[in-house]
Symmetry: C2
């Protein structure tokens, strides 16, 4: 029985209780959110050692880190280092997007080391296997695709991205729209190739009930991918993107009716004033399903800094109601990230999520900032470092110049405003604690 | 005659023509904006080699980099390196905040090397001189302060921050409000000390006409500082901050009436949903004077990443109408930045400014992104690097893994969506150019 089926029956599971405890909510609140489809708990019973994590309305905004091998970088060892970097940086979830090397072995090794929900994009592996076994991606058969889905679910994957809304009709919307970057979703592109080659409908759409049966059997959460997400600002919020979102809304309802937990993936690249509109539209069209956004990146011109462009968009999206932010690293658009880029990408996404949580009024969010402010006023450097979102990073920057407790920093020296004002107003530096 | 006086008389100066040419506007549009006080051109005639730059409504959002010595780091050489790093990264303006070493010599050396507008905060030098000559910051006399102002103007400083809105009445607003971080403005804190020690009104407020005379004589733009800007989210948009903003609006009108160009400084730390409100309020209370914001930082908890927290707030502020973003580096709240942190701080602020310009509809902004999108679609890597906001940074990340023209990157390898879709849809990779 899935978490959604249990919630619909009014049952409160151990996983709901665990999520409630972490979020400062009652188990009943979590159960009600799951029952309404506003909260998902991606937690495959086969994932040993998983710490359940909720995603959705009223909960802390979560972040995901993408890792995984490529053809040119097929080794497990490097991905384990990235997994550990992402976990140490505080990621809430990880996606294994491996397309190179021993994909099954890599996934199993990562799941075994991963206490947070782990997601995949099964069509990647299906395409890689079709290429190696049948000589071409389009050689993939429908049963091959579902065999990969089932294999990954059996291994304990907690959520999977399926680009089920990429229908022939939505593809035609894109063609008639006229786009600059057309499709930038890798999974979407693979499926488009297959669809056009065979002249057949997207198998995830055509056989959605088959997918639902598997997801229900393993309690795997579906993350409905947005194949037609904009790959540049000029393509954002067009008829193709919103057409696909409508389809995703239809599929989300079917998933919920089948007792399958579901969330919706979102863009992408867009001007920052379009973000709130996109979040509101997703909530309406998909009946408040959790929204999982990639970025959004608020400009196209900053390769090397897309952790930052995504943090701008992610913060605005979270404040507007997005529930789950997929990190973007500074290597995006250039190459696969290394472990340090993974680490910084997670921190950037966490900052964006927290900036959104302050607006959402998530319990504890404002209190964290308030405590930092008090530590600053009292020039309590150890407490400032302890409260920092990346304590080690903050300590590294202070470095040799670290001031003693109660002293201003090297930035202002004797002109430290905190010290001056406390002296002049007669509020001793340490009094604010 | 100041630019504002000329504009009021209907004259079009060479500096207005230069600004118009850079912004894709007519000289008449620039002159009209200057006459209305919506645009300033901080350009001291004594600043040899200055390339005039406009700040305000309808113009590209500008960014400023703060550099300058401190007591613990008093050498000119390091600041020259930072100046060059900031200029190479594309800063539109620089502020010399030196408080250590030979302040006069440092300022003159920086002005001589600086083709962009250079600003200062005269009270810093006045305080440092009072400390060394009279044994205490509060030993400063009113004539000392104005002597520093005049000296800096004579040297060719283009704009100065004066915390003239920090009146006794606004200070009382802060006291009755009750704040965590009270005053975090260094200049504000110095003046508060002086005011409370002497029991006298802020000299910049009490003698504002004297300041206006000097500013008019040298055509130095006044940047009215917000001493009571919030130093943490909990203190944002309170009665003290808005009370001071009202005073700044009164002073801005007096400046314009005296023919002195004026802009308004803004916060600071605040929740991201308060930013648009703050921009709108500045535009109303200060009758559309250009708004120069520091950040805003959308969370307090990310020391080591405040280039990013400021970029989030700066992008939102710019989109809402802020005209000028003061960068914040990753060293903020920890220590003075080094040259690499200066460089990255400028890039982060430029990204935020550009994200805002896309919303403002600044000419050329969307076209830049469109060209990058076309270069991505056509897998034209050299063009992508050329168009990047930091070409060297992008090239460094690609590094050894740089793909040949027309090939996907190492991120997706053979599963590059651009390649796949172009192949399947029959739109050749290079066709978008």
């Amino acid at each position: 029985m899935t978490q959604l089926m249990a919630a619909k029956r009014g049952e409160i599971t151990q996983k709901m209780q665990a999520v409630a405890a972490r979020e400062g909510k009652t188990p009943e609140e979590i159960a009600a959110g799951v029952a309404r489809g506003e909260i998902v708990i991606p937690a495959n019973p086969a994932h040993v050692g998983l710490r359940p994590c909720g995603v959705g309305k009223g909960l802390r905004t979560k972040v995901n880190a993408n890792i995984g091998t490529s053809e040119g970088s097929p080794d497990l060892a490097a991905e384990v280092v990235k997994l550990e970097a992402a976990l140490a940086a505080g990621t809430d979830a990880v996606m294994d997007l491996s397309t190179g090397g021993e994909i099954d072995a890599i996934r199993r090794a990562l799941i075994a080391r991963c206490p947070v929900p782990l997601g995949t994009v099964p069509v990647y592996q299906a395409a890689a296997e079709a290429l190696s076994r049948r000589g071409a991606v389009v050689g993939m058969e429908v049963d091959d695709l579902f065999a990969v889905v089932e294999k990954q679910m059996t291994d304990g994957v907690d959520f999977i991205t399926v680009h089920a809304g990429l229908t022939m009709a939505n593809l035609e919307l894109m063609r008639s729209q006229g786009r600059i970057t057309e499709i930038v979703s890798r999974g979407g592109a693979l499926l488009v190739g297959w669809m056009l080659y065979h002249g057949r409908e997207n198998p995830f759409y055509a056989h959605f009930d088959r997918l639902l049966e598997l997801a229900a059997a393993h309690d795997v959460t579906l993350s409905l991918g947005d194949s037609l997400r904009p790959g540049c600002l000029a393509d954002a919020t067009d008829r193709a993107q919103i057409g696909e979102l409508i389809t995703l809304g239809e599929l989300a309802r079917r998933a919920r009716e089948a007792g399958v937990q579901v969330m919706i993936e979102g863009p992408g690249h867009m001007r920052l004033d379009e973000i709130a509109l996109n979040v509101a539209l997703e909530k309406k069209l998909c009946e408040s399903a959790p929204f999982y956004v990639l970025g959004p990146l608020v400009t196209d011109v900053a390769p090397g800094y897309d952790d930052l462009t995504a943090a701008i968009g992610g913060a605005i999206a979270a404040a507007a109601g997005a529930d789950f932010l997929c990190y973007v690293t500074s290597a995006e658009h250039l190459r696969l990230p290394n472990a340090e880029e993974v680490r910084r990408g997670v921190i950037a996404a966490r900052i964006a999520a927290h900036a959104g949580d302050l607006v959402k009024g998530i319990p504890g969010a404002a209190e964290w900032d308030r405590r930092m402010a008090v530590a600053r006023k009292s020039l309590d450097w150890e407490e400032q470092i302890r409260l920092a979102i990346d304590p080690e990073g903050a300590r590294r920057i202070i470095g040799q110049g670290e001031p003693a407790h109660g002293e201003g920093c090297t930035m202002c020296g004797p002109y430290c405003a905190m010290k001056l004002v406390s002296e002049f107003l007669g509020t001793p530096v340490a009094s604010c604690r």
